[in-house]
């Protein structure tokens, strides 16, 4: 090795390792409303700029992850004069219990609002028990 040659710097890794995104784009957590209906849980997330092709909903073990990718609009020939918000992808994850019937989860997207219906599994629905006399 020659005198004065710089050694290759090794970057220290983060422990515990956090999974990074491959795209270098800002990620936001969308605002959600969650309410419980008789037969299902409903999750509504505000994700402007997302349509049914760019939303990804995955259920892995007990974690439900909602991801939306947004193409930031680029206006060629225009210059930004006033900026109040930034555009980025959306991601938010929730832990759901076993009470959800995973095979019947439904999702729809309209006007940038993602709506997830998580039906409750049969055994969790409160069963009315008939009381017999005698």
């Amino acid at each position: 090795m020659e005198h004065g040659e710089r050694k290759v710097q090794k970057k220290e890794a983060q422990t515990p390792m956090e999974a990074e995104r491959t795209r270098n784009q800002k990620v936001y957590a969308p605002a959600v409303d969650i309410y419980e209906a008789k037969e299902a849980m409903v999750v509504i997330a505000d994700m402007p700029g997302v349509d049914d092709k760019s939303v990804d909903i995955t259920l892995d073990k007990n974690v439900l992850t909602i991801t939306g990718t947004v193409e930031p609009a680029s206006y060629k020939g225009y210059s930004i004069v006033h900026a109040e918000y930034d555009v980025g992808d959306y991601e938010r994850a929730f832990t759901i219990s076993d009470e959800v019937d995973r095979d019947r989860i439904e999702a729809s997207v309209k006007n940038g609002v993602v709506r997830l219906t998580l039906p409750k599994a049969e055994r969790v629905k409160a069963k009315k028990i008939a009381v017999k006399t005698g």
Binding site: Y35, M41, P48, G49, G77, Y78, S79, A83, V87, G88
Partner: protein
């Protein structure tokens, strides 16, 4: 991407304006008039080109027919309402983070507009308003003559 904060704290005189704005916000907060959709909803971005200007805002879940966009002089007014999801008997909220209600925003644009040629498009929850610049206000190239 651009950071909106940089635009606010532009120069030495900006902090004073920020403090005043903060004071106004605090006053409004304590006067009880504060609503979920405050005066400055929705946040907008303004792009300016040679022929036209584009104003964008993110307002998901709106009915395009129920939004009101009007231009008077160089002021653009945007208003609309988003209804709260009506829950049936026995249903209850676990979390409520999304805003709802009525909003109105009037903003002064930094250029003169031709009010007859305003177009608006609502796609995937993002509103894009294209405004044609008034003829008199378009940048004009000046030829430099040599003496």
């Amino acid at each position: 991407m651009f950071w909106p904060e940089v635009w606010r704290f532009g120069g030495v005189t900006e902090p004073m304006r920020e403090i005043q704005r903060l004071q106004r916000e605090m006053n409004r907060l304590f006067s009880g008039v504060f609503q979920p959709f405050s005066r400055d909803f929705p946040p907008v971005n303004v792009w300016v080109g040679e022929e036209d200007a584009i104003v964008t805002a993110e307002i998901p879940g709106m009915d395009p027919g129920k939004m009101d966009i009007s231009v008077v002089g160089d002021a653009l007014t945007l208003s609309g309402a988003r209804e709260r999801e009506v829950l049936k008997e026995g249903e209850s909220y676990h979390r409520q983070e999304r805003s709802h209600g009525h909003f109105t925003r009037t903003m002064q644009l930094p250029l003169k507009i031709d009010a007859d040629k305003v177009e608006a498009r609502y796609d995937k929850g993002a509103l894009r308003i294209t405004l044609q610049r008034a003829e008199a206000d378009k940048p004009k190239k000046v030829a430099v003559k040599s003496a």
